[in-house]
C-alpha cells in the first residue's frame, strides 16, 4: 500500500508566542517541529507499513527549512519525502494549500492519504476537507482508530458524546486526532538511516499548478489582525475575619468580577 502523509511544520508547542511591532507572529528564535497532529498520522502510516508492507511518503509544503519536519518523519520510519517549495506559494491561505496538496497527491497516486485533522498552530481544520473536494475522495476527520482491508477503511471518529465508525472506500483521506497512534521517538538508527532517504523537491510547475492560483493574490481569506490572549492575572488573597472576608468576596463577585 502506498501511503502519503500530508505533514506540516509548525512552532514548537512549548514555544512562547509573541507578536512583532507590526503585529505579525514573531518566528525569531522559535524551534520548528513537525506538527503533533501530522505526527499522529505519520505514526499511523508507519504502523500500517509495518503490518502490511508498502511505503510511506511524507508530503510537505514549505521552504528548505521544512525539510527538518520531513526528516523527523523519515527518522521515525517513513520512506521518502516530497517538499513542494516555490516562492509563489508565500501568503496563500488554506485554499491554496489544499490545491497544491491535491495536485501533488494526484502525481503521487496513493492508496490512502493521512494527515492531521487540524494543525496545532492555525487549527483551521480546512485543508483535508478541501483536498477531498478537489480530488473527489471520501474524507473522515477527527480519527482516533483506523482499520483497513480489501480496499476499504473503517475509521473511528471522535464525537462530543461518543464515537462513530465510518466505512469508506480507498483511496480516502483520513484526518488524525490525538489517540490515533502514539508517535514513537525516532531511534538513533532511524535518525542515521534518515539521511540516506530521499527528499524530492517539487516546484509548482512540477505538479501543474499555476502560480496565479496560489499565493497572496489568490487568497480568499485575509488575516486582519493577530492579538495574543490576555495573560492570566494572579489571584488575590483577601485577608481578615471570615464574616468580613465573605462579605467582601460577595461584593467583589458583583462589582469586580461581575459574575453575579
Amino acid at each position: 500500500m502506498k501511503i502519503v502523509v500530508c505533514a506540516k511544520q509548525t512552532f514548537d508547542t512549548e514555544a512562547v508566542i509573541a507578536l512583532t511591532a507590526d503585529g505579525q507572529v514573531n518566528a525569531t528564535g522559535i524551534t520548528l517541529i513537525i506538527d503533533p497532529y501530522s505526527e499522529f498520522a505519520v505514526e499511523q502510516a508507519i504502523q500500517m507499513k509495518e503490518k502490511d508492507g508498502g511505503e510511506v511518503i511524507v508530503l510537505t509544503i514549505g521552504n528548505a527549512g521544512a525539510q527538518s519536519a520531513i526528516r523527523h518523519a523519515l527518522a521515525m520510519g517513513a520512506d521518502s519525502g516530497v517538499l513542494v517549495d516555490d516562492p509563489a506559494i508565500a501568503g496563500g491561505d488554506s485554499l491554496a494549500t489544499a490545491l497544491i496538496l491535491a495536485k501533488a497527491l494526484e502525481k503521487l497516486n496513493p492508496d490512502i492519504i493521512l494527515g492531521g485533522f487540524k494543525s496545532s498552530d492555525i487549527a483551521g481544520a480546512q485543508v483535508l476537507p478541501r483536498v477531498s473536494s478537489i480530488l473527489n475522495l471520501p474524507n473522515v476527520n477527527v480519527a482516533t482508530h483506523l482499520e483497513w482491508a480489501d480496499g476499504k477503511a473503517q475509521v473511528t471518529r471522535e464525537l462530543d458524546d461518543g464515537v462513530e465508525i465510518i466505512e469508506v472506500a480507498l483511496p480516502a483521506i483520513i484526518g488524525a486526532q490525538q489517540g490515533l497512534a502514539e508517535p514513537r521517538y525516532p531511534s538513533v538508527k532511524g535518525i542515521m538511516q534518515s539521511k540516506k532517504k530521499p527528499i524530492n523537491t517539487w516546484t509548482l510547475a512540477d505538479i501543474g499548478v499555476d502560480a496565479g492560483a496560489v499565493g497572496a493574490g489568490a487568497a480568499k481569506t485575509k488575516v486582519v489582525q493577530y492579538t495574543l490572549k490576555e495573560a492570566r492575572k494572579g489571584g488575590r488573597i483577601i485577608e481578615g475575619e471570615v464574616p468580613d472576608v465573605t462579605k467582601e468576596v460577595v461584593q467583589l463577585t458583583r462589582t469586580e468580577a461581575k459574575v453575579i
Partner: protein
C-alpha cells in the same frame, strides 16, 4: 565550540524528549528504590543510546565524542544514576575499543552497542584505589589458560554486566609481575559477584564487589599484550574522565535550573529571594561554572578526537573542574532551597548526594592534580 551536525541535533533532540517524558518522571523513584532501573535501560537500548559510543562497523552509530558527551550531560541532568549505566559502557569497553583485537571487538562491541549486554571496568581493589601499583589480583599461566585470583571493589554495574575488563598482575616464571587486562565473562566458573554497596548517592547505579576464585580465562582473553595494563588503564580513564566531566556538568545544569526557578518563586522579606544579591551571586557563579565546564569539555573532546598527546592533562583538568563545580553548584542549590533543599521532596537533595562521588571516583581530584603537575613538569625542563 564544536557544531553538532543535523543527525547529532536530531539525536540530542530525541534525548531531550526521553529525558523529559520517561527518565525525569522515574528519577526520584529510582533514587528511593535503589535498584537497577531495567525499564529505563530497555528504553535507552531501544532508542540506540548505547550505540552512540561505538563505531559503525561494530553496530555503533559512528557519531563523535562531542555528541556522546552532550547526551550524557543531558541524561545526568535528570538522573545521574541513569547516566552511570551509560558512562560505564564507555569506560568498561574502553580497553577493548582501544587495545582489543578484531575478534574481541566483534564478539563484545555489537552486544554493547545494542544494549543487549553491559560491561564493567574491574580495576579498583580494597587496598588499591589511587595506587594502581598496589593491585594484588594475580593471573598465572596454566597450559593455554590464565588462572586469576583476587578481588575487586566499587565495580560499577558489576552485578548487571555480562562482560568484565579485569586488571590483574601476570606472575611470570621469573617472578615478574606485569599488570595486564583480561576480558572475562559472567558465566565463567570462578567469577563470583559480591554484594551491591549501599551508597550515599547514585542510587540505582549498582556498585559491586567481584571475587576471582581460580577464575580460568583463555589466552584469547588477554586485551592488548601482557604488561599493557598501565597503558590500558590510563588511556581508558582519559575517556572515563570526560564522561565524568559531562555527567558532573549535567548536575551543574540541573542545580542552576532548579535553584533559579525556586529563587524566583520564593518570597521572603516581601520580595522573591532571586532579587537579593546573596542569591544572585550564587546563581551567577553556577552559570560561570557551567560555561567553564562546557568549554573545558568541548576542548578536551576535540583533543580526544585528534588523538592529542596532551589529552591526559586536559582530561584530568576537565574532570577536576567539572566535578568540583558540581559539588559547589549542588551545595549552593541546597542552600538556596534552604530547609526544603535538605528534604527529599525536591531533587536538589539528590543532586547534592550524587555530586559527591565525582571528585572521588575514576582518579580522585588529588590524583588528577598530581597527573597535571607531572605533565607540567615535563614541559619545563632546566
Amino acid at each position: 565550540m564544536y557544531q553538532f551536525n543535523e543527525e547529532e541535533q536530531m539525536i540530542l533532540s530525541m534525548v531531550d524528549d526521553i529525558c523529559t517524558d520517561i527518565i525525569m518522571p522515574r528519577a526520584q523513584e529510582i533514587d528511593i528504590q535503589d535498584e537497577f532501573p531495567w525499564d529505563i535501560h530497555q528504553v535507552l537500548a531501544e532508542q540506540g543510546i548505547f550505540s552512540l559510543c561505538f563505531a559503525e562497523e561494530y553496530g555503533g552509530a559512528g557519531v563523535g565524542l562531542h555528541c556522546w558527551l552532550k547526551m550524557m550531560e543531558k541524561i545526568a541532568a535528570v538522573s545521574c544514576a541513569v547516566s552511570m549505566m551509560i558512562a560505564n559502557v564507555s569506560l568498561g569497553s574502553a580497553p577493548v575499543v582501544l587495545f582489543g583485537n578484531e575478534e574481541q571487538k566483534q564478539k563484545v562491541l555489537p552486544e554493547l552497542a545494542s544494549g543487549e549486554a553491559q560491561i564493567a571496568f574491574g580495576l579498583t581493589e580494597p587496598n588499591a584505589g589511587s595506587d594502581i601499583g598496589g593491585i594484588t589480583t594475580t593471573a598465572v599461566k596454566k597450559g593455554d589458560k590464565y588462572v586469576i585470583n583476587g578481588n575487586k571493589v566499587f565495580i560499577t554495574s558489576g552485578s548487571v554486566s555480562k562482560y568484565f575488563s579485569i586488571f590483574a598482575k601476570v606472575i611470570g616464571e621469573d617472578g615478574s609481575r606485569k599488570l595486564s587486562c583480561f576480558l572475562a565473562e559472567k558465566d565463567m566458573p570462578g567469577l563470583v559477584i559480591g554484594r551491591n554497596e549501599e551508597k550515599m548517592g547514585l542510587h540505582g547505579s549498582v556498585t559491586t564487589q567481584l571475587f576471582f576464585e581460580n577464575l580460568e580465562v583463555p589466552e584469547s582473553a588477554i586485551i592488548g599484550q601482557i604488561g599493557d595494563g598501565y597503558k590500558i588503564v590510563f588511556q581508558s580513564l582519559n575517556k572515563g574522565r570526560l564522561n565524568n566531566g559531562a555527567q558532573a556538568t549535567g548536575l551543574v545544569q540541573a542545580a542552576l535550573k532548579d535553584a533559579t526557578i525556586y529563587a524566583k518563586g520564593r518570597v521572603q522579606f516581601g520580595n522573591p529571594i532571586s532579587e537579593f544579591q546573596a542569591i544572585q551571586f550564587m546563581i551567577a557563579d553556577m552559570e560561570i561554572g557551567l560555561q567553564t565546564c562546557h568549554l573545558m569539555l568541548d576542548n578536551a573532546a576535540t583533543l580526544f578526537e585528534q588523538k592529542s598527546p596532551d589529552l591526559m592533562k586536559y582530561a584530568s583538568a576537565t574532570k577536576v573542574v567539572c566535578s568540583d563545580m558540581a559539588n559547589k553548584a549542588t551545595a549552593d542549590a541546597v542552600q538556596i532551597f534552604g530547609g526544603y533543599g535538605y528534604c527529599k521532596e525536591y531533587p536538589v537533595e539528590r543532586y547534592f548526594r550524587d555530586s559527591k562521588i565525582f571528585p572521588i571516583f575514576e582518579g580522585s581530584n588529588q590524583i588528577q592534580r598530581g597527573i597535571i603537575a607531572k605533565a607540567v613538569y615535563k614541559e619545563y625542563n632546566e
